[in-house]
Structures are given as C-alpha cells and as structure tokens.
Symmetry: C2
Subunit: 460 residues, 2 copies
C-alpha cells in the first residue's frame, strides 16, 4: 500500500470541526462524507455527543479506533494543536480545509504547519483548500443541491484554486464527464502537484492528469517528473498568473510566486505536457485524452449533417495543422451506394440535413475503416427528428475501429441529455466544431509526444 | 409600412406543402405557426380539406382572402409553379424552405426563381433555408420538443447556414438569451444579408445584428451598408470558409463562392463590424452588445469571490489591451469599512470565498461609482451557500450606474437557472473568465468604432 492511499482509500476518517449547524462547512463536509464514505467516520466536536447520527468525540485522542485520515475545518489558529493531537493518535494523513494562512499574510502560522510536516512523519494537504473528491470520499463543503457531483471516470484533477476546481466538478457533473480523483491543494504547505503526480502516475483508474497551477514548488523536478509520466499517461496543465497583473493577484490568492509565463510554456513543452491556454481547455482536452486513443498522424475526416458546421470544422482543422485527405476511392464507391447524390463525398463528408441514423452508421463505418483516415470528427444536429436515440449507439460503436472520435453537438435539454450519454460511453462532445476539432488535434499532439521518446530510444 | 414587414409582420400566411403527416416538415411548420402566429393561416394541400383544425386549400389561388406571406415546402421542382400561382394571387413575399437547388448542382432551377424575383414584384427568402423565427412567427421545421425557442430580446440573427442557426436558437433558449428576429437565408436567390441589414437597421427591437456568412453578394455594398449601420447599432459577423478546404466545402453547401478570409477581415474592420473569429463568439459578442452600454475607455475592474478566476480574468484583460487600474483611494477607504482584512483591495478585487450578497452589493456599488473604473467583470461562484438568490438582483441593480457589466458564472442546474435570470435582465453571463472579459473588451471595441466616426465628423 502506498502512503497516499491513506488520503484516497482511507479505512477510517475523522472530521475535526464537525458541526451540528446546517449550513456550516463542518456540517456539509460531514454530511457529504456520510453519504459517500463506507468506513467509520468520527466527528470531532467538544460540544456535541452526536452529529448527523454519528457518535461525536471531544478530540482525536478520545477516539479508540485507529484513524487513517483527519479532515480539519477548525479556525486557522487551532489547526496546529489539532495536528499535534493527531500525531499523538498516530494519524499521518491530514487535509486542512481551513483558511487564514499565508493567503492573508499569516505566514508564521503556515510555517508552523510546514515545520510539523517536515519533522514528524505526517503529510498535509492544504490549508485553504476544498480537499479531495472521489465517488466514495466526498469532503467538498458545497452542498450537492448547489454543486452536483460528476460520475466516476478516468480524469484526475489537481487544482491550486478551490473555486476553479469546484466549478469544474459542477460542469463535469452537468455534462456527464467522469472523474477519478479530485484534489484541491490550496496553499500546499506540504503535499504539492509533484507528490500527487507521482501517486496518480501509478493509479490505474487515472488515465489523464489535469492540473490548474499558479506556481510550482520545484520547476526542475516538476519537469523531470512530468517528462516521465507523460510517456505513460497524458498531462494537461493550465497556468494562471501569466501577466504581471495576474501574478500580483496570485500572491494575494495562494501566497505563492508565479513565474514568467514563457518559462512555464517552455517547461510544459519540454515535459510533454499539453498546455491548456484557455481555462475551458483543461476540461476539453482532459476528457478526450482520458477516453480516446491517440491520433496516429494528422489525417482526419469530418462527417456532418450540417454543411455550415462542416466548413467551420475544416477551417479549424487546417489552421491547426491537420489534414482532411480525400477518402480512398473504394470508400467513395461504398458511400455512393447509400448516400444521396447531393451529399458531399469530399472531406468534410456532408451527409446533409435529411441524414438518418442508418446513414450515419454506414458513413462512420466506411470512413473509420478507410486507410487514409486516422480519426473522425462527427458533427450531428441532434435536434433533427430523423435522428432517433439510436444515434448514440451508432457513434459509440465507432470505437471498435480503434480510431479516435470526437463529437460536436449543442443545444438545450433534449440534446444535452444525449450528449451526456455519449460522454458516459467515453465519447467526448463539444458545443462547437472548433472545440471538437481542437480536441482531436490534441490527440495528435499527444501521439507526437509519445513518438518523441520512441525516437530517442531508437537513436540510442 | 416597409415592404419587409410582409415577411416579419404579415397579416396572413399560407403554408404551401402543409402536411397532415406528423413528422413531415410541412406538418411541423404549420404546427409551430399555429401556436405562434395570431392572424389567419392557410394550409395549401390539394389532398386535404383540413389540417390541424385549419381549413385547407388545393392551391393559393383558391384562397379568397388576401395573403401577405407564402411559406413554401413543396419539392424543389414544384416551387416555380407555386410562385407563379402566388403572383397571380398578388402575393409578393415568399419564403422557400425546400432544398434541391444550386447546393446540389441544380443551378438552372435556382436561376428560374431568380428570374421570377427580378422580373416580378416579389421578394424571395431562401431556398434551402429554415426561414424566419420571431416569437409571433415561428416557421422553424424543428419540433419544440427537440429545439427550444428563445425568449424575446434584442438580437437579430441572419444566417446562411440553417443548422448553425438552429443550434444557436437552441443554445439561446437554453441560456435564456432573447432574440428579436432570426432569418435563415440559405441559397439567397434574392433576399440577402444586405437587404436584411437595411431592414434591421430601422427595426427598433433590434439592438445588435449578428451574421453568419459564407459569402456576400456585393462586397462594396456590404461594407458601405455596414459602415452606416454600425454607427447606429453594432454588427457581429462570423465568416465560414476561411481556408481553401473550407471554401471548397462552401461550394457544396450553399453553392456560393467564398472569398479570401483576409479580405473579409479587412472589410469587416473597415465597416466597423466586430468579427467573431470563433463560432461561439457570435453568441458571446451579440448578447453583450445588444444589452450593455459601451465601455468608454479600457479601464475595468474585476470583482470576484474566487481568487483563481480573478487571476485568469486579469491575465485575459491585460492580453486584450484592457487596464485594471487601482481604485480611487476614497473607494478603497469605503471597501475597508466592510470587507474583511484578508480581502484583496487591488484590482482584481477579491472579496473571497466567504463573500455574502451584501458584500457583493456594497463592493459593486463602490466600484461602479469609482471614477477610475468604466466597466466591471463580476465573477461569482454561485454554488456557495453564502450567496442566496438576491445575488441576482444585486448584480442586475448595478445597471443603474450606466457602466457595462459582464458576469462569469458556470456550473449545473442550480447555477444555470440563476444565469438565465441574469440574462433575462440583460446581464450577459459567460462560463469562463476569459469569455466574460473578452465580451467586455468587445464593448470597448464598439465604443472605438463609434468614436472613429465622431473624429471624422470633427475633422470636417
């Protein structure tokens, strides 16, 4: 068992600062834990005997059973004492949710925690964070009514901003995109992105690591670690605080220093990290990288029932260095047997607005089998009555050909429900052709990162 | 009365090709018209006596009452005959939904329509389009169950792609963004973007014109027209078919020739048109331009309860040429009376994760009154229980200061419902800080376009 399993697969959990008052963080955390975590939970509160039906204890010391993980939500000035008690209780894994440390200039208080983590055999996540989310370990202090939880999946997300992280969780839930592990690291007094990257590297249920960063502890080690990991699984990173103004804001946010953005971009590149330049790209890129195979070369096809969207997809592909080659003549021959004469057999393949599910099925099969084509961007106007629900299976079944597929589909409730189903099957869906094509290009980029190392190996 | 009122405010409408068969275009169009249009509707179908409870006629000629507008959904080869009958019936406005013209190489068939429109006193919208949508004139052939209709508002949208247009309508409906008039122009055998721009220029309920273009009929006239209009109301345009590959696809889509993209960009600039470079920007930009005042200079403030989002907003603002000046010292003094000491009084103003609605209210008021600040990007983590529903009113009430406001807020159902309410009040909401700031920068851009003309006038 790895040490970090204490954080992610604890056998028992204590909540120090658990509250009986609905609306308080210590209440919501306990409530969410109770409905997710299957092992024993020990609320710690000197003024309560029972909270939410769980027996409460005045301090960690009073709990007789062993505790794997302590989640701390007491006021900042009390955290040190709680950790010292935890150490006596032989607890080695702590998550400090409480804020009130270096982010508000209380550097001394944070240093005390740092000293504890360095001199005692303990690890601390936080402070000033929203902790961990896993399907079976939900310590997020935002109520589910306001912030939905995403299904289980293959993305793990490390974030230095709690707000950013929580919104991402909510969006993932809304779109049906799965998460494996979510970790808000806040002021990262001890556990940082590098520790977590090392753990997630070996975690089988993590197929893509996504990171929101304001600063890194050790640039050289970060690059070295990422360089090794990206040969095994993709990393997507977004760096906030790129301008002077943004960097000033970083200081007052997590009390850390942001380096120059060019250095970050260069380091990401060197490390084989895919850089998200827009915040939404963390989400766009990680869901495709976690669920789809790489694009082995730059040759893709666009299949669409909306001409306009096909054009925009083509423009985007060309501008991103992808090619839309002609299909093999044998494929065109097959397409002509079932597509109407007014369809477009050029790439983008426009199967026109009266396309049926059958037309999609046969076209996708033909195109995905074509040796000239390595990946397909599938655009579907789900609003059309000619497309019944079986369109979902048809697109999903395209996976058997082993080539990557991304989908463009947008609209309101009716469409969004279908999109969610596609996401559940690991088919990433985007609201615009540009984003669907960009996601495809990222699969090509990651393929090149993998090849880069192969080339190095061969040279040796 | 302007001629185009026959299209947008007809007193009576005929649907030629109305169908009794559920699922057929001619059925859905009639159904949607019936539930939106208040005047008499005449279904035309030689094989029916009554459709959807409306008396049906074998041909346009048989209708005794006058008809202002004829919507045509018969097979392409029959359209000419229908129009000729319509001319006999003294109808002068036609919308041809039917496809099967130059987009599939049937140029001769389209030329026949063109000849009719040129020699007779009639105007034709289409063919190969989805027609017009207004709250009281819904001829969209997609059922409401699959494609929602947006509320009434101030954006009018001209689109050469029906699919693109219909998805935009659905997204607008989903986000609660209002539309005034939607016009799908398809192959534009007669009525084109210039005609409609001229009409919408004088339309009081249109405050922003959004255009999806693949080609323009007459570049010089387009620029001249737009240059005049943009001094009165903003125009946002997206040009599809920018690459060689994209242009090829345009030919098979609407049978028109796309010009070089650089020429379009230059023409847009000259005409004072705000160019949407991404398809989603048509929507992002038009909703802010239709509902918010211009940003008079480049000085904005960011108010946030999430530090990370504030940083990303600051980065974006600086990269777009906006400034985040320090607040006036008197404002800082006021802020210090109610914000906690750990808040950030620098711009971005971080009122921190425990912000209440009251804190937002007082901060927004102070910042919007500040003479150093001309507009505010307000970021709110709506998922936080400290923010009750009154946050909506507080943000909306910021409008009284006459300075533009854009909002960043994202998540799932709970948040999206609040966002919809903000949109109903004319406050544009964006899912990322980048997009909220970009929208603000577009208000600055439009302000400069207005000033440009003023400068010219002064010089004279």
């Amino acid at each position: 068992m790895l040490f970090f399993d204490k954080f992610f697969n604890p056998k028992s959990v204590a909540v120090v600062g658990a509250s009986r008052t609905q609306g308080k963080l210590g209440y919501t955390i306990l409530e969410n834990l109770k409905y997710s975590f299957k092992g024993p939970i020990y609320p710690i509160n000197p003024n309560a005997e029972e909270i939410l039906g769980l027996k409460s204890y005045p301090s960690l010391i009073e709990v007789e059973e062993p505790i794997d993980l302590a989640i701390i939500v007491v006021p900042a000035e009390m955290t040190k004492k709680v950790i010292e008690e935890g150490i006596k209780k032989k607890i080695s894994a702590f998550v400090i949710i409480s804020s009130g440390f270096s982010e508000i200039g209380e550097k001394e208080r944070q240093l005390e925690l740092k000293k504890l983590s360095e001199t005692k055999k303990i690890r601390i996540i936080g402070p000033n964070c929203i902790g961990i989310y896993k399907k079976d370990l939900d310590m997020i202090f935002l109520p589910k009514k306001r912030l939905k939880r995403p299904p289980e999946g293959f993305i793990s997300f490390i974030t230095q901003s709690g707000a950013f992280g929580s919104i991402l969780l909510d969006i993932m839930a809304n779109e049906g995109v799965g998460i494996s592990k979510f970790i808000s690291i806040g002021n990262k007094v001890d556990v940082d992105e590098i520790d977590l990257m090392n753990y997630l590297e070996k975690d089988l249920s993590t197929r893509c690591i996504a990171i929101y960063l304001e600063s890194v502890r050790d640039g050289a080690e970060f690059v070295k670690t990422a360089k090794r990991i990206t040969q095994n699984k993709p990393i997507v990173a977004f760096k906030a605080g790129k301008t002077e103004k943004g960097k000033e804001a970083v200081v007052s946010h997590t009390g850390s220093l942001a380096g120059p953005s060019e250095i970050y971009s260069a380091a990401f590149k060197q490390a084989g990290i895919i850089e998200a330049k827009l915040s939404e790209e963390i989400f766009d890129f990680s869901k495709v990288l976690a669920n789809q195979p790489v694009l082995k070369d730059n040759k893709i096809a666009v299949v669409t029932d909306g001409g306009g969207f096909g054009i925009v997809a083509a423009d985007t592909a060309i501008n991103l260095g992808l090619e839309l080659p002609a299909l093999d003549s044998s494929s065109v021959k097959i397409l002509k047997t079932f597509l109407p004469p007014y369809a477009s057999f050029n790439n983008p393949i426009d199967i026109t607005g009266d396309a049926t599910v059958e037309r999609y099925q046969k076209t996708l099969e033909t195109v995905l089998k074509d040796k000239n084509i390595s990946g397909v961007v599938c655009i579907a106007l789900m609003q059309l009555p000619t497309l019944d629900d079986s369109i979902i299976d048809v697109i999903k079944d395209g996976k058997v050909f082993g080539k990557p597929i991304t989908v463009c589909s947008a609209g309101s409730d009716f469409v969004l429900e279908r999109n969610r189903k596609l996401e559940m099957y690991g088919i990433p869906v985007y609201p615009t052709p540009e984003r669907a094509v960009k996601a495809m290009s990222v699969l090509y980029e990651y393929g090149k990162i993998l090849k880069r190392e192969e080339t190095v190996k061969k040279k040796k």
